[in-house]
C-alpha cells in the first residue's frame, strides 16, 4: 500500500489526498502500530507515552477553555467520558483553522524547513548512506493518524513525501538493520532490529510543577524557563566532560521542554543497557510523590559536586528569589523543613516562620544557617545539615528527566525544526554555549505565522537593500561555517528570524560530518593507503 503511494510523486493535490486516504485505510486495516488514530486519547497514550502526554496536554488546555464557556467541571483529565462533548463542539472551528494551517505548513516545508541539513545531520555524509536510508520517520497527519516506519532513500524523496502528506509533526526513530519499509518481508525478527540512534534526553517543565510557582501544566514563562537552562548546563557539561561526547544538539520542543540529541558515533551505537545506565546516572531527583526526592550517597560523586557548583548561583537567583518556592507554610514544610535532619532546628525554624508570615524563600534559606549556628547541637550536625542543604538544592535545580526517552534505542522523538502544533513555534536548536543559552527566550522563537509574515514583508520591501544586507551576512557565515554555498542565492530562511537557528544547526552538522569523515579516513588509512583518495572524491 504505502510502497505504491510513497515513491509516486503526487502531482495534483486531489490525487495526493486520495493517496493519503488509501494509504491510511491500508495502514489502519493492516498493523495497528503503523497508523494509530489519535482521536480516542486513551488508545494512543497506551502505545507511546511521551507524545501521548503532549497531545493530551494540548487537549487538556483546550478543554479548559471550552469548559469555561460551558461552565462544566474541569478537573477531568481529558479522557473519554467528558471529552466527547467539547471535542465535537470545537470541530468546525478546528476545520477552519486546519485548512489555513495546512497552507501555512506547506509554505514552511517548501521554503523554510532545512531539508539539506536535516539530511546531512542524520546521514553523517554528503552521499546517502544506510544511516539515512534505514532511518525510521513517523509522520503525524492532520486527521490524527500516525504513519510509522517511513523511510527515504534521499533527502529529496523525504521532502516530497512530507509535502505530499503535510504532517503536522515528524518524529525520528532509530536506524534499523534494514529498510523499515521492508520490515514485514523478514521472517525472523532478528533481521529487523534497531541498530543506532542518537542518545536522547527530554526535559519537561511539567515535571517541575511542585517547585514552579509562576506557571503550571503546559504553560511556561521566562522565569520557569530558567529550570531548563540549568538542566541544559548540568547535562551538557556532564555529557561532555564525563562521557566525552562532543556533538550535543539541544532543541526546544516548541512548548515547555527541551530535547537533547547526542549525535556522536559512539553515543548512537549504545545499546539499551548502556542507555539505561546513562539515564540512571542522571537520575537524581526521583519522581515519587511526597517525601524525600533526592537520595544520594555521600561522599558526593564528582558529577554531583560539580553539578552543585553549576547550580549554586541559579538556586539563589532563579529559584529562591525568582520562584520563591517556600512562600506558603505547607510548601516550606514539604520542600524544606522535611529535609532538616535536626528536629530541634526544624521546630525552631517553623516557629520563626510562623511568627513572620510571607518571609521570602531566600530569607528562610539564610535562617537555616543562622539558627544552626546559634544552636548548641549545631556543631555536631553540621555535616548532616550540609548534606540536607545539598539535597534541597538538588531537588530544586537538578535536571528532571523523562528517562523513558533516554532508555530505549527505538524510542521516537520529535524532529528539530518541526512546528509545534499547539503553539505554532518552530522547534529550534538552542545554542548551549553560556551567554547564548542564558539569552534563549522560548517565547520569542520564530512561529509559523511570524515566519510567513516576515517573508511577505521581505518581498514587499525594497528587495535590493535587504538582499545586500543578506549577502553581507551570508558572506560572514560562509567564512565562519567554512562550507562554500549559496553566496549569491539568498534562501528564504535567510530572510527571516529563523536564520540564526538554521545557521547554528548548519555549523553543528558540519562539525559532526567532519568528525565522522575523519574517523572514516583514519580507519581506512590504517587499513589501506589508497582508499583515502576515494574518500576525498566523495567530498561534495
Amino acid at each position: 500500500m504505502e510502497e505504491d503511494a510513497a515513491p509516486a510523486a503526487a502531482s495534483s493535490p486531489a490525487a495526493a489526498e486520495e493517496d493519503i486516504a488509501m494509504a491510511e485505510a491500508g495502514e489502519i486495516q493492516g498493523v495497528v502500530e503503523d497508523a494509530k488514530p489519535v482521536q480516542p486519547p486513551s488508545a494512543q497514550t497506551a502505545e507511546d507515552e511521551d507524545m501521548g502526554v503532549e497531545i493530551k496536554q494540548e487537549r487538556r488546555t483546550e478543554l479548559k477553555l471550552e469548559d469555561l464557556f460551558a461552565g462544566m467541571d474541569s478537573d477531568d483529565d481529558g479522557d473519554f467520558p467528558s471529552s466527547s462533548n467539547p471535542i465535537n463542539g470545537q470541530e468546525p472551528v478546528e476545520a477552519d483553522t486546519q485548512d489555513a494551517s495546512v497552507e501555512l505548513l506547506r509554505i514552511y516545508y517548501q521554503r523554510f524547513f532545512p531539508w539539506r541539513y536535516m539530511f546531512q545531520w542524520l546521514n553523517h555524509s554528503p552521499v546517502p548512506t544506510n544511516d539515512f536510508k534505514h532511518r525510521e520517520f513517523s509522520l503525524w497527519l492532520h486527521n490524527d493518524a500516525v504513519m510509522r516506519y517511513q523511510s527515504y532513500t534521499t533527502s529529496d524523496l523525504f521532502r516530497k513525501d512530507v509535502l505530499r502528506l503535510m504532517p503536522r509533526r515528524i518524529e525520528i526513530g532509530p536506524v534499523y538493520t534494514a529498510d523499515p519499509r521492508d520490515r514485514k518481508t523478514f521472517r525472523n525478527s532478528t533481521a529487523f532490529q534497531p541498530m543506532a540512534k542518537e542518545l536522547c534526553f527530554d526535559i519537561d517543565l511539567t515535571d517541575y510543577d511542585d517547585i514552579r510557582t509562576c506557571c503550571d501544566k503546559a504553560n511556561i514563562c521566562s522565569k520557569c524557563w530558567k529550570f531548563t537552562t540549568m538542566a541544559i548546563k548540568v547535562l551538557d557539561t556532564a555529557l561532555r566532560e564525563d562521557f566525552g561526547y562532543n556533538h550535543i544538539l539541544w532543541v526546544y520542543s516548541g512548548r515547555r521542554g527541551v530535547h537533547a540529541w547526542v549525535c556522536d558515533k559512539k553515543a548512537r551505537a549504545l545499546n539499551d543497557h548502556h542507555r539505561k545506565a546513562i539515564a540512571a546516572y542522571f537520575e537524581v531527583v526521583s519522581g515519587k510523590q511526597g517525601g524525600k526526592k533526592v537520595n544520594i550517597r555521600r561522599p558526593l560523586h564528582p558529577h554531583l559536586s560539580r553539578s552543585i557548583d553549576i547550580l549554586k548561583d541559579h538556586f539563589q537567583q532563579d529559584v529562591l528569589e525568582t520562584q520563591d518556592p517556600w512562600q506558603t507554610p505547607d510548601k516550606a514544610d514539604t520542600l524544606l523543613l522535611q529535609h532538616i535532619p535536626d528536629l530541634q532546628l526544624r521546630e525552631a525554624l517553623r516557629k520563626k516562620w510562623e511568627s513572620s508570615p510571607g518571609r521570602a524563600s531566600s530569607a528562610k534559606w539564610a535562617d537555616i544557617d543562622a539558627l544552626a549556628h546559634t544552636d548548641a547541637s549545631g556543631a555536631l550536625e553540621s555535616r548532616d545539615l550540609l548534606d540536607a542543604k545539598q539535597d534541597v538544592l538538588l531537588e530544586h535545580t537538578y535536571p528532571r528527566l523523562d528517562t523513558a526517552v533516554s532508555q530505549k534505542l527505538n524510542h521516537l522523538l520529535k524532529s528539530p525544526f518541526v512546528i509545534h502544533p499547539g503553539t505554532g513555534r518552530v522547534c529550534v536548536p538552542i545554542d548551549h554555549r553560556g551567554a547564548a543559552l542564558d539569552a534563549f527566550d522560548p517565547l520569542a522563537v520564530p512561529t509559523l505565522q511570524g515566519l510567513v509574515r516576515e517573508i511577505d514583508a521581505w518581498t514587499d520591501a525594497d528587495g535590493a537593500a535587504a538582499a545586500l544586507a543578506a549577502v553581507e551576512v551570508s558572506e560572514g557565515t560562509a567564512a565562519a561555517g567554512g562550507s562554500s554555498q549559496d553566496v549569491k542565492h539568498v534562501q528564504d530562511w535567510e530572510k527571516t528570524s529563523l536564520k540564526p537557528y538554521i545557521e547554528y544547526f548548519r555549523s553543528f552538522v558540519t562539525a559532526l560530518m567532519k568528525d565522522e569523515r575523519e574517523a572514516v579516513v583514519k580507519r581506512e588509512r590504517e587499513e589501506d593507503g589508497e582508499v583515502e583518495v576515494k574518500v576525498e572524491s566523495l567530498d561534495f
Binding site: E241, G244, R298
Partner: protein
Amino acid sequence: MNRIDAKRRNVLDHRKKQFADPSYKDTQYPHRLNFYATPPTADITLEQFEQWAIDRLRILAELEACSFRNRTPAETALHMKPLLDKYLPLDASSSGHSQLHLQRQKDHYSHFILRLAFASTEDLRRRFARVETMLFRLRFQADDSRERAAFVRTLNLDWEPVSEAEKRELAPQLATTIGFGYGKRAQQVLDEEWCKVDWMRVPDLIESRKVYVRAGKAYVPGREQQSMVLNAYTKRLEQALELTARALPRLDEDDRLTPILNHLSKNFIAPDSGYTGSGAAIEGAEMTARNIDNLSQHFPMCMTHLHRSLRRDAHLKHFGRLQYSLFLKGIGLNLEECLVFWRSAFNKITDDTFNKEYRYNVRHVYGDVGGDSNRRSGGYSPYSCQKILTEHAPGPGDAHGCPYRHFSLENLTTLLRASGVADRAVLQGVKEDTESQKFHMACNRVFEHLHKTEMKRARDDGVMTAAQLETIVHPNEYFKRSYLLKNMDGGKPQQKQQQGDVKMER
C-alpha cells in the same frame, strides 16, 4: 577440546609428521590464578585423572554447600581454608613452594576434567560455572595484591592502569568513589589499584554512580575490578562450557574416561532430603548378601520387582541399580555385603567388567567415594515413594519405578498375584486406587492385606500404636514395618527399644 593450533609446536620434519605423536609446549603457570583458557596437553595417569577431579569436586561441593547455608564470604573462606589446603592447595608464587608447578597443574587439569564431566546439560553447566566462579573469587580475594595485579594484566581485559601522576591529579574525585564517611581518603586513593576502562564496560557501576568517569573512561578501583574480572571469568567459562558441550559427542572414548566422568557428574546432583525413618539395621535381622532372597518377602512391590528382575536377568539397568542399592543400604546392608550381593547377582559378567563398570557406582551410593559432601553424608539417601513416583520414569528394559504407577494393570495384577495377593476385593481396590492416582493407597492396601493378621494382633496386643501404622510413604518404612510385624514373636524387647528410637527421631 578447543585446542589452539598455535600451541602445537611441530618439532619434526613435516614429512614424518603424520606418524609422529603431536607434541606440545609445556604449559607454564606463571600465576597462581588461572582463567583456564588453554586446555592441558600433557599425559596424566587414569588414577590422577580421577583423583584430581574428585579432589576438586569435593571443594566445589563444599563451596556450594556454604552458599546454601548462607555463609558470609568471610565464614566461607575460613571454612574452606583447611579443605583447600588439603585437596587443592595453591600457593602464591612468592611462597617459593617446591610443589608450585604441580599444584597449579593439578588445579589446571582438574578444572578441565570437570568441564568434561559437567558440560553435558544446561543445568550442570550453569551450576558448574557458578561454583567455579565462587572458587575463583575465593582465590582471587586471597591472592597477593601484586600477584593479582600481574595476573589481571595478562588477561587482556582492555584495561589501562592509572599512573601515579594521574592518581594524584584526580585524587579528590577518585576519593569520593571509595568508601563511605568522610575520613581521610587521600592515602587510600594512592594505595588503591585504579584502572581506566571504557565506561560501556561497566554500565552497572555507571548506573549507580559508583565510579568516576572522565571523557568516557571509568576509573575503577581495585575492589570493583574484582567484579569485572569475575564477570569476565564467568562469561568466558560459560562460553567454553558451551563449546565443550558441543564437542562432547566427538569424545571418541567410552571405557576409560566416560564412566569416571559420568560418576563425577552424578555426584554433583543435589542430595535428597533423606530417609527420616532411620536406615539403621533392624535388631535380629541378618543383613547379608545371602539373606536378601529371604528378606525379599518383606519388600514392597517396587523392590520385589527389582529383585525378581535382577534374579531373572542377572542384570539391572542404571536407575534400577540405584534405586535398589539405596533401598538395600536403607535396610541396613553394609557396603561389603552390598558389593558381594551385586557381584554375585551379576553372574554373567567378569570380575573385570564388574569392577570397571559397577563397583564405583555402588561405592558411590554408600559415600565411599566421590566428593566430600557425598562422603560425609554417607552417600545418597534411599529414595522415597515421592522420588520414585516422580523422577526418572522407567523406559523399556528398566525395572525401577513404582509398579502401581508405572505398570499396566495386567502387569501389576500379575506381579501382585505372584506376590501372594489373590483376593479379588484387594485387587479391585488396587485398581481403583491406581486409576485415581492414589498410588500410596494401593501400596498400603496391599501391605495391610499381606499383614492383616499380624496387624490385628499388634493392635490388640498394643505392641504398635496407631501412629506407627499410619500410611507408608517410603519403601524402607514398608520393609521395616513388614519385618517387625512378621517377627513380633522373635524379640519383643528389642522391638520396643527400636520403636522408641524411631519415635524420638520423628
